[in-house]
Amino acid sequence: MDLKKVDSILEKHGYRHSEVIGIMQDLQEIENYLPQEMLRYVSGKLELNLTRIFDIATFYKCFSLVPRGRHIIRVCCGTACHLGGAARNLEQVKRLLNVEEGETTEDLTFSLETVNCLGACALAPVTVVGKDYYDAVHPGKIEKILSKYYPESKRLPDAQD
């Protein structure tokens, strides 16, 4: 754990209890999840009860208490995406990677998440990998999309850029 980074985040928010959600969002950016030891450390520094921190960490969907993969796949399950077949896309990702929602592949390449709506409804169904958006996704496209994120040797020959 990089204590310097943690301290500078706490400093930035002025150790204010009201900003604990923002603090935790910034902390999560360090390792893509919230390690327990980090939360314990922060609880001590902020003089804020650990139960309150865990309450927040488990209430809000954006927080993860377990390590996540290098690329986070977010399958949008908003209404427009649902009508466009988001559920079939989600199943296809699960089948290909052999993970369930909220899980990470063994090689730590991908974590699979769903999101309520990304606000890109006119492009439905949408799936985001890391910061890359894919529009009009259907089950036949998924393998190609995912293969882009593997090292070149494992990619499909026609993977798009």
Partner: protein, 617 residues
């Protein structure tokens, strides 16, 4: 940087910005908000900038990053002035042509224009495209025209004049009464009259008051708030400052979803610039009025769109709603009187203050004034954000603006209001859309999501989808919502999976009654709406699922099979090669068949078949 100290400073600055502009210069506007960025508009901007640099055209051509034009389906959208050419689906390969032809020779490039689907006629200007013809852009007027990351662009089109007028020519009570007289109602969902809320808050006892803008746009299928925050952030900020002046608040907070990184970025830049220009902070425009704004990022909890939960979330706790009264206007953030409005509501305020209440209340219907942005998505041909006057009919929105249904399918229903809303059938298509008519039809205005469904959409599945959504988003504090949703979901899941029983529909209706009456907040209280409205208008679909074990739309996996139309299939073998189950058989150039025993209904064959030979039975 110009720090503006007086009203005349602001006017001088506006004039100097306009004077600096070279009328000969061609402006290429590229949309840089989420929808177009998802289609790589960032790369298009880079390509334009490279092209301009390489050809040394910096003095002749300007590249402007703009906000959303609303026609997101056609993105990335590029508009070139002065020819006003509206180019759709622009890629990096088109950049050289646009610069050399349109920018330098005023020649319009036909292949990039929008084409009428029936006549194939190309349309040059945005205003001539049917999608825009029946719209009335008031709140979204600036979006797509100005650079949202540059305050001078906003000032140049008259930005912050309403603030100047409010602060110098009006009293706080005068502003409140103008907003009351305009008749504007909250754009976030509840539809409570904004002016009345302000009046209650301004007369509430207490020295410390707050203004909160709700940008926690949680309704799936609605994204007008994101578009406004990304495309015209200063209009929201200006509305909030005016609100602060009206009710006597000195601090404002914008609560934004964490899923909207560009909105957060543009709002942060806008706040910083407004501070630098003296339009936010200490002694605004030399009037002695102080007001600051900060951003609070949400954590991905739908319930935090509810006002009491949102306030608790800003206080740094898990956002669970509390009972009302007391309402936030009396007892809100940290126990102080707080006005909490949707970002779209705040974006309306500068227009109302500047043009007057009569101008605003002239638009709309008896009970709903002004315009509303809807996100028209789903199975309509033209999808995107549309702004219309209140009282425009569903038919005008879906068929004239939206162009009807894709792939010549039949319209079945339109879902409005997100998870608290309902589905409206074809029989009500000529209904004028306003707060009251939607409520009477069993739906709500909500934040303005309008999801169009056709014959391939299963209404039982839609109800199950929303209940599933709400089951996960219920905070769990009160029993009717927590347990009611779980039981409702169980029943709907059974129906969708072929285990529906006689009496299920009645049981769902009973549960709905209890939840509506006894839930603590609107999430639980309105949760049964998607179920009730689909039972009301599409009972036959429920009955087909329960009694005939059949999903007429072909959505519920246990209740249909994929088959190959032997006449359409030309034996291209694509589906056979891609089927993960090896469930498809057939020789090359001869019609194929699917083995229903092996098929897992993953949908790959259905989605990749180029001849649409795969059907649902």
């Amino acid at each position: 940087m110009h720090r503006i100290r007086t009203i005349s400073d602001l006017e001088e600055l506006r004039q100097s910005i306009l004077a600096k502009r070279d009328p000969e210069k061609v402006v290429i506007g590229v949309c840089c908000t989420t929808g177009c960025q998802a289609r790589r508009s960032g790369k298009v901007i880079d390509a334009f900038e490279n092209e301009i640099r390489e050809k040394g055209l910096q003095d002749k051509v300007e590249i402007k990053k703009t906000g959303c034009h609303g026609f997101c389906e056609m993105g990335p959208i590029v508009v070139v002035e002065p020819t006003n050419s509206f180019y759709c689906r622009v890629g990096t390969k088109d950049v050289t042509d646009i610069v050399s032809e349109t920018a330098l020779k005023d020649k319009v490039i036909d292949r990039l224009l929008w084409k009428h689907p029936a006549t194939k006629e190309a349309v040059v200007s945005q205003n001539d495209i049917p999608f825009y013809k029946k719209q009335k852009k008031v709140v979204s007027h600036n979006s797509g025209r100005i650079d949202p990351t540059n305050i001078e662009d906003y000032i140049a089109v008259g930005g912050y004049s309403a603030l100047a007028k409010g602060l110098t020519a009006m009293t706080p009570a005068g502003v409140v009464e103008t907003v009351v007289a305009s008749g504007i109602r909250g754009r976030g969902g509840g539809g409570f009259p904004t002016g009345i809320k302000w009046r209650i808050c301004s007369s509430a006892p207490g020295d410390t008051k707050y203004i909160i803008a709700n940008g926690d746009e949680g309704d799936p299928g609605a994204y007008m708030d994101r578009s406004l925050m990304e495309g015209d952030p200063h209009s929201i900020i200006e509305g909030m400052i005016i609100g602060g002046f009206a009710i006597g608040a000195r601090e404002g907070i914008i609560y934004v979803r964490d899923e909207y990184p560009i909105a957060i970025q543009h709002l942060s830049m806008a706040i910083k610039q407004a501070e630098e220009y003296g339009l936010l902070g200490h002694d605004i425009l030399g009037t002695g009025f102080d007001f600051t704004i900060r951003i609070s990022r949400g954590g991905g909890a739908f319930v935090c769109g509810e006002e009491t939960a949102l306030i608790i979330s800003i206080e740094g706790k898990s956002g669970t709603p509390r009972a009302r009264p007391p309402y936030p206007a009396i007892e809100g953030l940290w126990g102080n009187p707080t006005v909490l409005n949707n970002v779209e509501t705040f974006a309306n305020i500068p227009k109302i203050v500047l043009n007057g209440a009569p101008w605003y209340s002239d638009m709309g219907t008896a009970g709903s004034k002004g315009t509303k942005i809807f996100s028209l998505v789903g199975k309509a041909k033209n999808t995107g954000l549309v702004e219309v006057k209140m009282g425009t009919t569903l038919r005008e929105i879906i068929f004239d603006i939206g162009g009807g249904i894709r792939k010549s399918k039949r319209f079945k229903a339109v879902q409005t209001g997100g998870p608290s809303g309902g589905c409206i059938p074809i029989s009500k298509i000529d209904m004028p859309v306003d707060y009251d008519s939607l409520r009477d039809a069993g739906a709500i205005m909500g934040s303005g999501g309008m999801i169009v469904m056709d014959e391939t959409s299963c209404m039982v599945d839609v109800a199950r989808y929303f209940i599933h959504f709400l089951m996960f988003e219920s905070c769990g504090k009160c029993v009717p919502c927590r347990e009611g949703l779980k039981q409702m979901h169980e029943i709907l899941k059974n129906i969708c999976e072929g285990r529906g029983q006689r009496g299920d529909i009645e049981l769902l209706s009973d549960l709905a009654g209890v939840m509506t009456t006894a839930s603590l907040c609107a999430l639980g209280g309105t949760a049964p709406n998607p179920v009730l409205s689909t039972i009301r208008y599409f009972r036959d679909e429920y009955e087909a699922h329960i009694f005939e074990k059949r999903c007429p739309a072909g959505v519920c996996k246990n209740l249909f099979e994929y088959v190959i139309n032997q006449e359409r299939c030309n034996g291209c073998t694509l589906c056979r090669l891609r089927c993960p189950q090896e469930a498809i058989f057939g020789e090359k150039k001869k019609p194929h068949v699917i083995d229903p025993q092996r098929c897992i209904k993953c949908g790959i064959c259905y989605s990749i078949c180029k001849r649409e030979a795969i059907r649902v039975k």
